[in-house]
Every structure is written in structure tokens, then in C-alpha cells.
Symmetry: C2
Subunit: 199 residues, 2 copies
DNA sequence: TCCGTATTGTACAATAATGTACAAAATAAA
DNA sequence: TTTATTTTGTACATTATTGTACAATACGGA
């Protein structure tokens, strides 16, 4: 059924992801994308329709391999806080190990947001989804007795979202792993999400 | 001494600031800048030499009117925590009141940073300066007895920087003033930077 | 008034990017 | 082998953008 695609779509998507991640959505032109993917602009438009559509695919892929993905895999009844802490540690490790200082693709994209929806709309949703997920997790943790019964879960979820965003952003300037983790640990401890002597 | 400038440099700088703020550094072209400022590109290059130089001026101006400016005005001996809390509250007010959801110019610019110093270098310095300032303030607060003597001031300074960054970023998606402030208050209280019943 | 000097408008040449159109190429199925 | 179908390369017309060059302009000071 027609001529098959000459390039590896998965590989191309990876390349696109790195470019968007490194340079930002707006700053990554179709010409540059196509060239990096090793295809012509013609094939690009044929395969992805538009830069925005491709970005949607990229974000979808990013979500799957992002370090906070572990939070999605938490099932009812399982302890939450250890996974949460591990995620923060993982983020410190990943960000400080990245020689490109790319930070987090989602956070970078949120920063690009303007009121007028020039930028892809799903970025907003992705962020809101993160806040919602934190809220669910924190509620579950409270209900499971991992957090005090009188915990303000709304506020805590907000704090987690803000702090996580901030750490990801900060990692573009502060590149020392120890310093990042120390900051995270302090945050986690002061919110009783981990105890001092863990690790 | 030559023909005088036909346009108001202060006014033009303001216009440029809004544009950079709203659309980001990279996405704001000289053409658009010059047009918005009401001058020709010719005059633009004559007056500012380059977009990067202008951005330097813009950041300088921004720093002066930014909500965290109050922290610079703290002199020895004065209490620190009330001012710190007031700043967070001010930021919630400002960000939620901004119909353009611009967030913070510095934070937006940090998000644009790549490893290769394409972007103006002073952005990095500006962020580092913020961390340093938090460290000095926290140290002073501890020495003044506003914080416990065994406070890990490095970690706390990092937390403040990360959280503040995150709140500014988050304000581009979460626009409800109450929700933002609730998050900040929770953060401040859990770090003993304010007491629950303040405001 | 006239001169020096800095700003301005217009022009230029070059590069980059956009989206579309169409013919050539390559394969699966008939 | 032929046909239907999809990808691919090339081309096109358009619009942005860049930095520089140069002459025209306007004002302060002599």
C-alpha cells in the first residue's frame, strides 16, 4: 500500500525531541528539524502535517520516559512517599548529568507560554495534569497514613508542583548534583515526606 | 552636539521590556521591537547596537522594579522574614493580576538558556545573584535569631530560590490568586518563615 | 548664520523560513 | 506485470529578518 517511509519514525521523533528540548519550541524551525531528522521538508510535512502536531507527539513520548513517570505507576495501597523521594533524587541525578543543561521539556515549554495560545495548548494541560496527579497522590498518602490526617493536601500538592518546577528550572544554572539534592532533601524533610537519615 | 534622539528612550525601553517579557528573548525580533518602539531599525541599531545589548538594559530595568527588589533594601539589623513573606504575597498578587500571564522575565529567560551561550550571559548571573542574596538573607535571619541556630542555610536558600522560581513559572498556568498564595503560605509556614495566623 | 555631529529614513544584498504543488520513485496488492 | 498508493525530491512564490551603507535631516554651539 504505497511507498513505505524511508526513515525510522521513532529515531526521527527522538531527534526532534532533543532539538525541542535543547532549543525550545519556538526556536526550532521546521527546516532545522527536517535537516536533523535526515528528511526533506517535503517528507516532514507529509509525515507530521505541522510542527505543532509533531510537538504533540514529542510531548507524548517525553511523558513516557520522563523521571516523574514513576508516579503514574503507583497503584492503590502501595506506599507513596519513598517513590516520591526517589523521583526527586532521580531528577537531581539526571539534570546534573546532562551536559546540555536542557532541564525539563515540559517546564521549558510552560515558560514559553503566552496568554494568546500561539504555543501548543497541550502544554497547559500537561502542567495541570501534574498538579492534579500530585493532589491525588498526596490525598492517597494521607489516607494511607503516610501523612498527618490534617495535612492541607491542596497546598502540599501546589508546593510540590512549584518546587519540582523550580528545581528543574534551577538545574539549568545550578549544575552541582550535591547542591540540587541537598535542596530537595531539605524540602522533603521539612514537609515530612522523608526522614533525615534516609540515604 | 548632533541631532537629538527623536524618541523617549525610557518609554522605548518599557515597550521592549514588555515584548521580551511577553514573547521571550529569542522570539522577539529587532524588526518587531523597532516597530513597537516607534522607530526604524536604523535608529534601533544606532541607539542600542544590538538586540542583546538592549536586553541587557531591559533586564537592568526589570531588576529595579521587580517584586523581589524589596529584599535588596534590607539593611543590617532589620527583621527579614516579614519582608520575605510580603514579597511572596506581592508576587501572587502581581502574577494573578496580570492578564497576559507573563510570569517573571528572569525566570522565563532562564528557561530559554541553553548550554551554548547563545542567549545573553547575564541571565545566568542574575539567577545566581538571586540564590546568593537568599543565602545572605537567610544567614542574617539566623544570626538575628529569626531562624533556629541550626538552620541549614545553604539548603534553605536553595529551597527559596527553587520555590520562588516555581511559583513564578506556575503562575503562567495557575492563575488563581488564592491558590497561589495558599501554596506560598504553606511553604512559608512549613519552613517557619511565618506563623499560620499572620494574615 | 554656519558648522559639526548624531540621528533618521531608505535602500541594499543576503539568508532563512514558510506552505504548497507536482512529478518521480518505490512498494504492496491485484 | 500492472495498478493503486504513498513517499520523496525539487521547485516556487512569499514573507521575515538581518546588518550595513549612505544620504538627508535636525539641532547645539561657535
Amino acid at each position: 500500500m504505497g511507498r513505505p517511509t524511508q526513515f525510522d519514525k521513532d529515531e526521527a521523533l527522538d531527534i526532534a525531541m532533543i532539538l525541542f528540548w535543547k532549543n525550545g519550541y519556538e526556536a526550532t524551525s521546521v527546516s532545522v528539524l527536517a535537516a536533523a531528522m535526515g528528511i526533506t521538508r517535503s517528507s516532514f510535512y507529509n509525515a507530521y502535517e505541522s510542527r505543532e502536531k509533531l510537538f504533540g507527539l514529542v510531548l507524548h513520548r517525553y511523558k513516557k520516559e520522563a523521571p516523574d513517570g514513576v508516579l503514574t505507576e503507583i497503584t492503590d495501597g502501595k506506599p507513596i512517599l519513598p517513590t516520591l523521594c526517589a523521583m526527586f533524587r532521580e531528577i537531581c541525578d539526571l539534570r546534573s548529568a546532562d551536559p546540555d543543561r536542557k532541564g525539563c521539556l515540559v517546564i521549558n515549554s510552560v515558560a514559553e507560554l503566552g496568554k494568546d495560545a500561539e504555543a501548543p495548548p497541550f502544554v497547559r494541560d500537561l502542567f495541570s495534569a501534574m498538579v492534579d496527579r500530585f493532589l491525588r497522590l498526596v490525598r492517597q498518602a494521607r489516607d494511607q497514613g503516610e501523612l498527618a490526617a490534617d495535612t492541607d493536601i491542596q497546598a502540599l500538592a501546589g508546593e510540590l508542583a512549584a518546587f519540582l518546577s523550580g528545581i528543574n528550572l534551577m538545574s539549568k544554572v545550578i549544575t552541582d548534583r550535591q547542591q540540587l539534592w541537598r535542596t530537595c532533601r531539605s524540602f522533603l524533610v521539612s514537609h515530612k515526606l522523608m526522614v533525615e537519615d534516609d540515604v
